[in-house]
């Protein structure tokens, strides 16, 4: 079995006195793609944000290849360089061009030569079909294009693990595909990823393991075939039915 890249043990997260996650443990191995699903507000984003210490935690610990990730550790910026995160609303830096958005972190934090990073950035942009947008401003791009740039911006750091938080949720339907294709491609390359999504057919295609988050914990954890064809818990069935219902509605309309 491959080595654990990320291990979360007994994580508890509270906002004031509201407990969002309780005693949650999860290991992600090298090259594994873990998809997290669950109803809105169940704590998926919070979990991802805990992983790179954008939230402090109230119990348990999170380790990246053995290194403790903690809000008050001096090496946090270094560890974060190894965790790529892509947000729902892209969060490109509006005052920088596409290329500068991508170059900023590797040049400033990893002290890599601008020339080298630039070449790599252009190659990555070409791979996601955006080479000609290198000198554009974020405001000139469509949502799907922005999200692909955000993915490149995370990739260029050569992270050990990539976190995707509903990266297609803000997109117009016709742009969802171009972004998901990029992520499937990354899975094919063997990247280690945690993906939060509501796109069930994508989840089924890309995941090595599916996790249903509900009631502050991991309620069900299985390979995608099992999860979609033979869900174990009543909640999982109910969760999957919400999508079926949507589909039937669409077919009738």
């Amino acid at each position: 079995m491959a080595e654990a890249v990320l291990s979360i043990s007994h994580l508890t997260k509270r906002f004031d006195d509201q407990t969002i996650l309780e005693d949650l443990s999860l290991e992600v191995r090298e090259g594994e793609v873990v998809v997290i699903v669950g109803s809105s507000g169940c704590g998926k984003s919070t979990l991802l944000r805990c992983i790179n210490a954008l939230e402090d935690i109230q119990g348990g610990e999170i380790r990246l290849r053995g290194d403790l990730i903690s809000h008050n550790r001096k090496n946090l910026p270094e560890l974060r360089q190894k965790i790529g995160m892509v947000f729902q609303n892209y969060e490109l830096f509006p005052h920088l061009t596409v290329l500068e958005n991508i170059l900023l972190a590797p040049v400033k934090t990893q002290k890599r030569s601008r020339q080298n990073v630039r070449e790599e950035a252009l190659a990555l942009l070409e791979r996601v079909g955006l080479k000609e947008k290198a000198d554009s401003w974020p405001r000139q791009l469509s949502g799907g294009q922005k999200q692909r740039v955000a993915i490149v911006r995370a990739l260029i750091m050569h992270p050990e693990i990539l976190l995707f938080d509903e990266v297609t949720a803000a997109l117009d339907p016709e742009m969802v595909r171009e972004v998901l294709d990029v992520i499937v491609n990354l899975a094919d390359q063997g990247k280690t990823m945690i993906i939060v999504t509501h796109e069930m057919s994508f989840a089924r295609a890309v995941a090595d393991r599916i996790i249903l988050l509900e009631d502050r914990r991991i309620l069900e954890e299985s390979d995608p075939e099992t999860f979609f064809t033979a869900p174990k818990t009543e909640q999982a069935k109910k969760f999957l039915r919400t999508f079926e219902f949507n589909r039937k509605n669409k077919a009738e309309a």
Binding site: L54, P77, E78, Q81, M85, E91, M157
Partner: protein
């Protein structure tokens, strides 16, 4: 055509003296503006953290500056310090200090507002890339904040330039003082000198402030 009293401008060194006076006014306000921008950014960034000591300091400081007429501050700084600490500040130095106190408070408040208006997730996405807090400010927060506060800070600097007319009162010979001297000296020969001289001053202030607002417009457009 009525006598506009413009001919005094060409008499002797009058025009050059007026320009010299304008330069004194501009020098005071530009030095003070420079100090205010640097200190204001530091103070504003510190004060943008909610419930920090700096945010209280800024609030109190700003309150005092807003209540006190600039003239009172100038008198306090110029005459008051001589009495109390027997400092012998020149009028110009006193003016620079007062204008910097004023400018730093207002600039600090502008920076605080602009920094707070940058969405938290911009900072978070920069942190998520592994940038250190200082780098996040230097490369992400401040550049975006500065773009937002350009119009108001140009407005502040323009107000400073205009307010230098008060420093005459603490004995600094700036453009208005020179104007009065010229008008006084030519009272007999050209009774309308006042009009001509103040018209010239109007044009000079305009020409001094205009490039600032043009630059601001250009920057705004460039950064849109």
């Amino acid at each position: 055509m009525p006598d506009l009293g413009l001919e005094v401008l060409w008499k002797g060194k009058n025009f050059v003296r007026l320009l010299g006076g304008l330069w004194v006014a501009l020098r005071i306000s530009l030095i003070a503006a420079g100090i205010s921008v640097v200190l204001g950014i530091l103070l504003g960034v510190a004060a943008s953290r909610k419930r920090s000591v700096s945010s209280v300091v800024l609030r109190v400081w700003l309150g005092i500056i807003h209540i006190m007429p600039q003239m009172v501050l100038l008198f306090l700084m110029y005459f008051g310090t001589t009495r109390l600490f027997s400092w012998n500040l020149s009028g110009e130095v006193a003016a620079v200090i007062v204008f910097s106190l004023w400018g730093t408070a207002e600039m600090g408040d502008l920076v605080r507002g602009a920094v707070s208006s940058i969405p938290a997730i911009q900072r978070e996405s920069a942190e998520a890339l592994g940038l250190k807090p200082a780098q996040v400010y230097r490369w992400i927060i401040l550049p975006q904040a500065v773009r937002r506060l350009i119009p108001q800070s140009i407005n502040l600097i323009t107000r400073m330039i205009k307010t230098t007319s008060l420093v005459t009162l603490i004995g600094v010979v700036e453009i208005l003082k020179v104007a009065q001297q010229i008008i006084e000296a030519n009272r007999k020969a050209s009774p309308n000198a006042a009009f001509g001289v103040y018209l010239a001053i109007f044009v000079m202030y305009y020409l001094a402030c205009r490039p600032l607002s043009l630059a601001a417009k250009k920057l705004e457009k460039h950064w849109r």
